[in-house]
Amino acid sequence: MRTSRFVIAMALGCAFGADWPTDGGNPQRTAWQKDEKILNKDNVKNLKIVWKIQLDNKPIEMHSLFPPLIVDKVNTASGPKQIAIVAGVSDNIYAIDVATAKIIWQKHFEYPTPARRGRPTDPLCPAGLTATPVIGPPNANGSRTVYAMAGDGEVHSLSVADGEDVAPPFQFGYPYGKSYALNLWEGVLFTTTAQGCAGNPNQMWSVKINDPSHKVMTYNPKSGGLWGRTGAAIDESGVAWAPTGDGRYDPATQTYGNGLIGAKVVGNELKLQDYYEPKNWAWLQSRDLDMQVTPAIFKYKGKELMIAASKECRIYLLDTKAAGGDDHQTPLDRTPLICNEEVNFASAGIWGAMASWEDAQGTRWILSPFWGPSHPDFKVPVSYGPVTHGAVVAFKLEEKNGKYKLIPAWMSRDMDQAEPPVIANGVVYAFGSGENTEQAYPDRGLDDNSPERIHDSTHAVFYALDAETGKELYSSGDQIKSFVHFGGLSIANGRVYLGTFDSILYCFGLEGK
């Protein structure tokens, strides 16, 4: 009996062992968990909160917990464990035993207060840790390291097993500069910065982990901020792709506002490799509809493709080998407007990050969240009632004679500010953040302030949807008590995680599994 249980456990361990080592699931930011074996279309209706844990992280402005990273079979002093690593904006890192919901270790980064910081009450510039950490591959001993950037811009290399420093910290980012989610590719860390927080330059950043000098390599597109929620996505050539905020497009001066840039470490420099600029970039700039969605990169029929989007509420399909073609302005396909008929810069449009997956029949699916009402001219064959606050929309990718087309497939039910979804085993997991996203008011104009937005936020609702039809399979209803800002979903081994503003980490799963 003992033996058979051990064998079964080992077998399950080998079969499962899924990780979620980085924001968006992988360096390509597809948000697709390929190795999920427990949750499926048939059983997610039985999802429940298997545990939740109150963390002692203090929210700053609207930020609190960032998407958890999951590593299975971590050898700890008390045996192998599946660990969730959660970063909090107050410079906290927590390692949580997924099985018991107990904190295994936690770290708080201390540093002298930086000379500059963002304006207090400004939701855009919290003074603290803002980049979701990243977990590196196992070393020769099977140990894993989590790389976390503190609010002062120092990167700490911590053992996932016990939180101990495995290498001295090194300077990478800009103090209180609002770095976005870290990404890791063949020993090079990437991040992006935006909003000019504390006077930062808006640019892409990279550093070689094993470079003793830790030379910081940057590329500045002379644009507004690079604020794709999950930072840069990295293609098979090591090119990091990031969207750029409002600004001009002037290739003569290497100015790439309202576009998408791809840069790669060449020698000891981060160099621009390619870029894409929508033909209507000037319109986007004039209405603050900047490209600010982390792209997702995937293979399709032997080609590596990429999807990107903007607050204007379109999706662009691009070839990573020639983004925008010869003139950098011709995508393989571009959808009509999905939402944002009002042409609003806040509370409407596509925000956050894209997602993509492939079904068993080889059909490639594209997923995008959006905020606000769907566009009245956008036609989709399957939908679930009027969308007024946001939804997830799915497209199928088709190719005929070298022509690519994004075909609308379904639009989900209405969600209160739909956030980037994740996909696993034929199920799309999504959530409405419940966040108040208003930045301007009739009587005052622009007045983006955290206290008012926090007051006017409600609570997140977590959903499971049939990935092929968009049909709702599960809703958390009002079980989640707070909203989410800059948080996100993670999924591995039958558990889905979401952290909320009140610093509670929720774990959804099936009873007994």
Partner: protein
């Protein structure tokens, strides 16, 4: 997109980087600015070259409630519905409409309810039209704003960011965009309704920010409404509605009203020196009035025929006005002594002027309507004395409205008649050569004149339609 449109887009896209100056080409009040120069100094899309290249297009037309007055134009407002470029237009029906002029959609429309014991005049005459007669105004600065400064970070002590507030963040100072800085707080629209109340409306909503205040007698023929330094000015003429003729000022800090009554003399219009002095013309005198109190400082009696205009020549201000005999005068703004007298020989001069300065040579140009044609003069200096030298004259047009100037392009409106529709013309400001015309795009005649802003020219017609011509950023 056809090759033609691609070529046009390429042309305009390149021009978009070429020239953009102060404030982004807004139109603050009737006559464009406090000096009534009826000009937009620079524009990113309208120039002699681009108009020749086909930049002027019919953009949209909107039917309004009532006959429109010339709109005023504001740009890059951060509203609760997103970034908007809005114009504001008052109509004879006591409505004020806000139109998103980049898409040609009404953003808000508000009716100003009649609130006076006087019986409202429902049917007007050519001399005394019914309803709201004065165009709305934005808060007009006394001097044109300086070109935008380089924009930097948004950290402590830094100026606001150049890029959008959404999450675009801030830009390198070396990459100043060609767009004007977005306006973060709602401005105001000043509307003088037919009941004589001054309304201060929120630019984003059209709602009264404060209760409307009694300003002039109801049913008057009010015009030249302009807000300068939290004081709203207006003039009344022709004793319409038994209202006395005069110049009026209301201090919005306390709603105190001052007036300079002109008896039988109708007031033709007003303009401002950059020190705030009000220059007003009536059918019998030209006066310099103290700001806000309207106490006369100096007066020059003559049979005036035009609204004054204030121009600068080599950093010295002059007042431009004409009399009923067709003379055009430049006057010293303090002493009101004549500096230039261009004989009129009995010509009929239009009731207002326009003026622009050539960027390279700093040559000052004055445009007048003379005997039904646009006549352009250069201000010249010989032996230390100023003079006006006629440069060119356009063809004669039907009921020619006062011209305006946008970045060296003169726009002239043949207002038409009951039997001839209005036609808008674009002329080369240096030569008078016709560059473009609206052809048959306008149906009906105009009684309102034209205004401009943000690469567009607006024409209102008698049937309540507002037309927009010019350039739109490609949305696709």
């Amino acid at each position: 997109m056809t090759l033609k449109y691609l070529a046009l887009f390429a042309l305009f896209a390149s021009l978009a980087h070429a020239q953009f100056g102060r404030g982004g080409g807004d139109w603050m009040a009737v006559g464009g600015d406090a000096q009534r120069t009826a000009s937009v100094r620079t524009d990113p899309h309208i120039s002699v070259e681009s108009v020749q290249g086909g930049v002027m297009q019919p953009l949209w037309k909107i039917k309004l409630t009532g006959v429109p007055t010339p709109p005023v134009v504001a740009s890059r407002l951060i509203t609760y519905k997103g970034f908007k470029d809005l114009l504001y237009v008052g109509t004879s029906a006591d409505t004020v409409a806000s139109i998103d002029h980049t898409v040609g959609k009404i953003f808000w429309e508000t009716h100003l309810p009649y609130d006076s014991l006087l019986v409202p005049v429902k049917t007007g005459s050519a001399t005394c039209p019914a309803g709201m007669t004065g165009a709305v105004s934005l808060a007009a600065p006394l001097t044109p704003p300086a070109p935008p400064a380089p924009r930097g970070g948004r950290g402590p002590g830094g100026p606001p960011g150049a890029a959008g507030p959404g999450r675009g963040g801030n830009m390198d100072p070396a990459t100043v965009p060609t767009l004007p800085r977005p306006r973060r707080t709602p401005g105001t629209v000043y509307a003088l309704s037919s009941d004589g109340l001054i309304h201060v409306l929120n630019q984003h909503t059209g709602q009264d920010i404060v209760p409307a205040a009694r300003f002039i007698r109801g049913n008057a023929k009010a015009h030249d409404v302009i807000s300068v330094g939290n004081v709203v000015y207006a003039v009344t003429s022709d004793n319409c509605g038994a209202a006395p003729n005069g110049v009026w000022a209301i201090d919005l800090a306390n709603n105190m009203v001052n007036e300079w009554k002109t008896g039988e003399a109708s007031v033709l219009g007003l303009a401002f020196l950059t020190d705030g002095t009000v220059i007003a013309t009536t059918t019998k005198s030209l006066a310099a009035l103290e700001a806000k109190t309207l106490k006369p400082k100096q007066q020059f009696d003559a049979e005036w025929a035009s609204t004054p205009m204030v121009i600068k020549v080599k950093d010295k201000e002059y007042v431009v006005a004409s009399n009923v005999h067709g003379h055009i005068f430049l006057l010293d703004p303090v002493s009101l002594e004549l500096a230039v007298n261009v004989p009129g020989n009995g010509a009929t001069i239009g009731n207002s002027f326009a003026s622009w300065e050539e960027a390279e040579t700093k040559t000052r140009w004055i445009l007048a309507v003379k005997n039904g044609a646009v006549v352009s003069y250069k201000v010249v200096e010989k032996d230390g004395k100023l003079g006006l030298e006629q440069a060119w004259a356009s063809k004669e047009m039907v009921s020619l409205a006062p011209p305006i100037v946008v970045n060296g392009v003169v726009f002239a409106l043949s207002s038409g008649s009951r039997s001839a529709s209005a036609v808008l013309y674009a002329l080369d400001g240096m030569t008078g050569k016709e560059l473009w015309s609206s052809g048959k795009a306008i149906a009906g005649y105009s009684t309102a004149g034209i205004s401009s802003g943000q690469s567009k020219v607006f024409v209102g017609t008698h049937d309540g339609t507002l037309y927009a011509f010019g350039y739109l950023l490609p949305r696709e």
